[in-house]
Symmetry: C2
DNA sequence: TACTAATATGAATATATGTTCATATGATAA
DNA sequence: TTATCATATGAACATATATTCATATTAGTA
């Protein structure tokens, strides 16, 4: 039998041409995939998880965050910038002090759910 | 005035010693922070977002995923292994074919919420 | 057996990322 | 102004990560 375009994985796999075509049609767009992954990526680092966890308890200035997390000021500041870029946190300046807080109800919701999920497993 | 241990950021920052001590006491543990970040990190890549999105529509074998996502078989396989390591997907073997599907109700919930969140902004 | 299909995996490479260091900026106080 | 505090930021470095390539494994088929 001659080879055709569709001679593999036809009987065993779920996808016949129609199914695959339908799924390809419903594919998430590359730009949306990137936005979603960027959002998750922001919580994909233990330092940022600690920062968000702390800020969910209370608004805090950079200095206090460095004390609480026992990290260098620069590292904290860099991570805060990243979190601000995806709008997970916002800042409020008072004099020379900058207060950061969580700026996204969705973050609190998802973060709490995931914390629970990870804990009882 | 002589310098003391706490002579900075006292009047302006929110954290007096008590507040900071309380927050430090409630800190997320390093291992939990790592678990949480690993979970989010799994969704922190556009390729894996596409894979999860596709698998949420239908169980699929590796071959079909490569067709749907127009990616190399090896790349897909590597990412599926990563997703399996954090138990976001599971596999089911039928002969030489391996079917993957989402193995975590929490993923569906969070993914859907986040997709909505990202979309109307 | 030999052959092919479906998937998995180790190594290599290029890119991304997190932290540190040094320094810059901005604000307040002396 | 000068000095200091709080924060931000660019560069450098080390580590992590995603993809590709080649090959291994496993299961079916001739």
């Amino acid at each position: 039998m001659e080879k055709t375009l569709h001679d593999t994985c036809e009987e065993t796999c779920s996808g016949n041409e129609l199914d695959l075509g339908k799924i390809k049609g419903n594919l998430i767009s590359p730009s949306t995939a990137l936005e979603v992954s960027d959002w998750f990526k922001a919580l994909g680092d233990p330092t940022r998880v600690k920062i968000i966890h702390a800020l969910l308890q209370s608004e805090m200035c950079v200095h206090d965050l460095t004390q609480v997390l026992e990290m260098g000021q620069s590292a904290v500041s860099h991570q805060l910038r990243l979190l601000r870029n995806v709008r997970m946190v916002k800042r409020r300046k008072v004099g020379k002090t900058v207060y950061y807080s969580v700026d996204d109800d969705h973050v609190e919701e998802i973060f709490g759910q995931t914390l629970q999920h990870v804990k009882h497993d």
